[in-house]
């Protein structure tokens, strides 16, 4: 019997089948992918194999041998503790250490002097390690890299970071083993291929743990009072309180940080006795406070935690009895993951309460339940051609040991992300880094990288190296300011644009407290506690999630097929459906409903394809663009997972619209590309790209003045590229990303094919319908106009936004 198995036995545990499979496969020298849900014992499944191998060798292992990559710092802490516990009992000489953005300078120096057996880190910190001059020496003994929660990284640019680092390390250490751990996802094959590379020496292991998930919709007592929109859902507070009070512990998931703050306040207001046993957890709250919340959850000293996706992953909280999801979880996969946070002991079932924030979300609840039943889990779409991440990676190598372009090119091309990179674009990227664009001009003093005599490309000077080191990492935080009490003590961070709207003396809610702004100094917001009743709730920017394709299919199915079933959800929707039918219709599967009505805001034209937010955003700007070709007109657009709205100051005629077949597939992508350019959807994408590629420099810590002459917003960059250098690959990347990730290019064609089969039903309504309500009240909007600015002003369509007198 192996040592690891004996250890399990002394603990009184029986290894699960997938754990035994992992140990065996690892012992055979395989690469692999393990699909297992959180809390199933997946850490021991892999660490057991790694440790077993180390125990076989007589000599003590030297150098870093195992690298464990996790997406979250909180998770890294957890993994480090778990692996260290196991290791200490079996091989007391070996250490596992943490290396994240939170690791202190002295600790980093210590790790360098005396490398430990295992290192738990994040993708960003791994790149920081690669920026060291002697990184190939520090990694020479490396045997294995484990990438945890790969499904989470895969659909993000941090996944590209992992791909590049792996491809690079494989060339330094040819027999490097790679293992991935991932929750179930739709495109398993692809996920494995991207992580493990072209090797044939791999195995895929599936943890067959089927947890029972019970979904329970929370319904208001009387449906008449059900809001058509109101993204808070706080009208259901009494029911939430009842669940909280009945159970030992509850996690409340919200979709945004602002919603998290609001729910926390409302709960405490309604039940002051919760003080002391209620806490909040989201990404902007200070690390120390977050760690405290996580610990308190573990030792059962908290009754309820209001959180965002910051608690989606990893971190085992066995005591949580219940989860409540507020508003749409946007995908079956995420919903299952969140439900899985409760009843964590293997085999215990999970219960999740779904709290709809508006009527339409009740249909979604039915859809989600069907999705769980049939285990329809979403794909994660990997990124392609992320020039911004590549440029950052090349800079990372250039500030350290330097790189030889001839040797690096095949490494980059070996990744999934850059598989189609050709010599021409590669040369463009090198030129961008050396010359700042394509042609060297007289007078130009561009400096970033310089080729050295040995053919290596290195960074031109210390200032550029320093700025790169300070801004490494793919996750983009806007201009965040730290919040601090006057007498010391950090609370977290907040985006600059929100704080800029406040005057000293104003109060705002943060981290569950009411704070008064005293002043802003040196990138810090100085506050004191306030007793004020009224406080502004900060909002955080950040992308809005779209329905997955699966969920929109499920939703259509629920709406079209289950509508007449007597489920609780549809029963309580009856009054809403009745009102909808009074003004308009509930569309049948072969119908596309379009509603038109007028309010004092203008003319609303609302479309209901039920295809998810992303598709609707693209469709909205495509429709707006095609209509604007018929006549000069200006649109403001909103979209959600059910449909989209075109709002205009003049009414375009239904006949014009219908006669011109604006839903045609002809020139679909050409028109889409034009509408992206005009509506500037790409502009938002460019924000991240500008930061990642190092165009936007966020300033030196504590030295805001000195860098001022180098500060400029991504918007300004977007404009100058658009005007002066439209062939810039970074600018084009923004457009491509809008196609692939903003609007799911692959699905678009299919959606239009289906649309052409449908009958268009145009309804003129006397007032807004229940279906339209969430759309027309949405304040986040895109614009598209074919009128000139001069005309719009002369026609008095636009007037000044004035200060309050």
């Amino acid at each position: 019997m192996t040592t690891v198995r004996q250890w399990f036995k002394t603990k009184g545990w029986t290894p699960q089948a997938f754990q035994k499979e992992c140990w065996k496969a690892y012992g055979e020298g395989k690469n692999g992918m393990l699909h297992a849900p959180t809390g199933s014992g997946k850490t021991f499944a892999l660490w057991g194999g790694i440790l077993q191998e180390a125990l076989k060798t007589k000599k003590n292992p030297v150098g870093i041998q195992a690298l464990w990559i996790t997406p979250l710092r909180a998770l890294a802490v957890e993994i480090q503790q778990a692996t260290q516990r196991m290791t200490s009992e079996l091989h007391p000489d070996l250490n596992i250490v943490l290396r994240t953005g939170d690791t202190s300078q002295s600790e980093r120096a210590k790790q360098k002097r005396k490398p430990s057996f295992g290192l738990v880190t994040t993708p960003e910190s791994l790149h920081v390690l690669l920026s060291a001059k002697d990184h190939s020496k520090s990694f020479q003994h490396l045997k294995v890299i484990v990438v945890d929660e790969w499904h989470e990284l895969l659909g993000s640019k941090r996944g590209v970071q992992v791909e590049l680092a792996l491809a690079y390390l494989r060339t330094i250490i040819p027999d490097l083993k790679v293992w991935g751990i991932s929750a179930t996802l739709g495109n398993k094959e692809l996920a494995r291929e991207i992580l493990l590379g072209p090797t044939a020496n791999y195995t895929v292991i599936e943890a067959k743990i089927q947890k029972k998930i019970k979904v329970h919709s929370l319904l208001p007592k009387t449906m008449e009072r059900f809001p058509w929109r109101g993204h808070l859902g706080t009208h259901l507070l009494p029911q939430v309180l009842k669940i909280v009070q009945k159970n030992k512990s509850t996690l409340i998931f919200t979709n945004t940080r602002a919603q998290c703050e609001i729910w926390f306040h409302r709960l405490l207001e309604a039940a002051p006795e919760l003080a002391g046993s209620i806490a909040m957890h989201h990404g902007s709250i200070d690390k120390k406070i977050r760690l405290w919340v996580e610990d308190s959850l573990r030792n059962e000293s908290l009754k309820v935690v209001v959180c965002t996706s910051s608690l989606d992953l990893g971190v085992d909280f066995s005591p949580v009895e219940n989860c409540i999801q507020i508003g749409s979880p946007k995908g079956v996969g995420r919903f299952i993951q969140r439900a899985g946070r409760s009843g964590h002991q293997p085999k215990a079932g999970s219960t999740i309460y779904f709290l709809p924030t508006h009527a339409m979300e009740l249909i979604e609840s039915v859809a989600l339940q069907n999705g769980i039943k049939t285990q329809q889990i979403e794909d994660r779409i990997p990124y392609l051609n992320c020039y911004d991440v590549l440029i950052q990676f090349l800079m990372t190598l250039a500030v350290g040991s330097g790189f030889d372009p001839k040797k690096i090119f095949p490494i980059v091309k070996a990744t999934f992300c850059f598989q189609t990179l050709d010599q021409e674009r590669w040369q463009w990227i090198l030129n961008f880094l050396i010359r700042g664009s394509q042609s060297l001009q007289h007078y130009d003093e561009y400096k970033k990288l310089i080729p050295t005599e040995h053919g290596l490309f290195k960074v031109a000077n210390k200032g550029i190296a320093l700025r790169h080191r300070l801004s490494m990492g793919t996750i983009v935080s806007g201009n965040d300011l730290k919040i601090r009490y006057r007498k010391g003590g950090y609370l977290g961070s907040i985006e600059e644009w929100f704080i800029a709207k406040l005057k000293p003396g104003d109060t705002f809610a943060f981290s569950g407290k009411t704070l008064e702004l005293i002043r802003i100094q040196k990138m810090e917001v100085i506050v004191k506690k306030s007793k004020a009743k009224q406080a502004k709730i900060p909002a955080w920017m950040g992308g809005r999630m779209s329905f997955s394709a699966h969920l929109s299919d499920l939703l259509k199915k629920a709406l079209f097929e289950d509508q007449h079933k007597t489920t609780r959800e549809f029963q309580s929707l009856l009054p809403v459906f009745e009102q909808q039918k009074k003004e308009s219709i509930v569309p049948k599967p072969d119908e596309l409903l379009i509603e038109r009505f007028e309010t004092k805001e203008g003319f609303h034209t609302v479309f209901y394809p039920f295809e998810g937010h992303a598709i609707h955003e693209a469709m909205a700007s495509l429709m707006a663009y095609r209509i604007s070709l018929l006549n000069p007109i200006s649109f403001s657009m909103s979209f959600n997972d059910y449909g989209f709205e075109l709002l205009s100051d003049q009414a375009f005629s239904p006949d014009d619209f219908l006669d011109n077949m604006l839903f045609t597939q002809d020139r679909l992508f050409e028109d889409l590309a034009k509408s992206i350019n005009i509506s500037e959807m790409a502009r938002r994408r460019f924000r991240d790209i500008a930061v990642i590629s190092g165009l936007v420099f966020q300033g030196y810590p504590n030295k805001p003045i000195k860098s001022k002459h180098l500060q400029s917003g991504s918007q300004l960059f977007f404009e100058v590229f658009k005007e002066y250098e439209p062939d810039n690959l970074l600018y084009q990347q923004a457009v491509e990303e809008t196609f692939d990730h903003g609007m799911e290019r692959g699905r678009m064609q299919l959606v239009f094919e289906e649309l052409e089969q449908k009958t268009i039903v145009w309804k003129n309504c006397s007032q807004p319908t229940p279906f339209s309500f969430p759309l027309i009240t949405d304040r986040i909007r895109s614009k598209l106009s074919s009128e000139t600015v001069e005309d719009r002003i002369k026609k008095m369509y636009l007037q000044l936004e004035k200060a309050a007198p």
């Binding site: 664009s437 805001e601 403001s636 165009l695 918007q715 600015v789 001069e790 369509y797």
Partner: protein, 214 residues
């Protein structure tokens, strides 16, 4: 172009962001930020080089419009420390026949003697007739103030939730803030009060934004 009258003097507001003072045959230009693109590029940030040339192109359009005796730069003529842009500017200055005055701004870190050697007059502020010229806004002086520094812009909104941000000439009862003349400079959005007059730059025209009558 729009001509406005202040203290019986005629001022032409040009879509480029410059103001022509008829009585004195003088162009007022604020926040040119020469060398900004070069400064970014020198520090490894690849702003398109073409964005740098726009000052000279704009001047080629402006100068033939009216007889010119003087140009008054209202501060932030150069963005940062000296770089190669200086030689382009030097060459351009040598070709001109009129007088140039620089009122220094917070970005003007190039020593005064360098400008003076080129024949520019350098001042921290200037008073002439009933007017006060400075880089920073100044509501204290009794005279009417022309200034820059702010890069003013306004938000326009309208029916159908339309919104648009545009640079503008921002005129309050005793002061007029010029928009930034340079490219790659950005906007600072201001909220006007009832007594303010706003002239936006659309790219092609200057338009006064009037109140809706209904």
């Amino acid at each position: 172009m729009i001509t406005i009258e202040i203290h019986t003097n005629q001022f032409v507001l040009h879509p480029s962001g410059g103001i022509y003072w008829k009585e004195k045959q003088t162009w007022l230009l604020a926040d040119v930020h020469l060398g900004k693109v070069a400064h970014f590029r020198k520090n490894g940030i690849a702003v398109p080089r073409k964005a740098a040339g726009s000052f000279y192109q704009k001047m080629e359009v402006l100068l033939p419009l009216f007889p010119v005796q003087r140009i008054l730069f209202l501060g932030d003529l150069f963005h940062s420390f000296q770089n190669n842009e200086w030689y382009l500017f030097e060459a351009w200055v040598k070709q001109q026949r009129f007088k140039m005055i620089l009122i220094t701004g917070n970005h003007d870190v190039i020593p005064n003697w360098k400008f003076e050697a080129l024949g520019l007059q350098v001042e921290s502020a200037l008073e002439e007739a009933l007017f006060h010229f400075t880089h920073f806004p100044d509501q204290q002086t009794p005279k009417f103030v022309f200034c820059g520094h702010v890069h003013p812009g306004v938000t326009l909104s309208g029916v159908g939730k339309q919104r648009l941000k545009l640079p503008c000439f921002f005129q309050s009862p005793n002061q007029l803030i010029l928009p930034a003349f340079g490219a790659f400079t950005g906007l600072h959005i201001l909220k006007p009060k009832t007594e303010d007059h706003i002239y936006v730059l659309t790219g092609k025209e200057v338009l006064e934004i009037k109140e809706k009558l209904f």
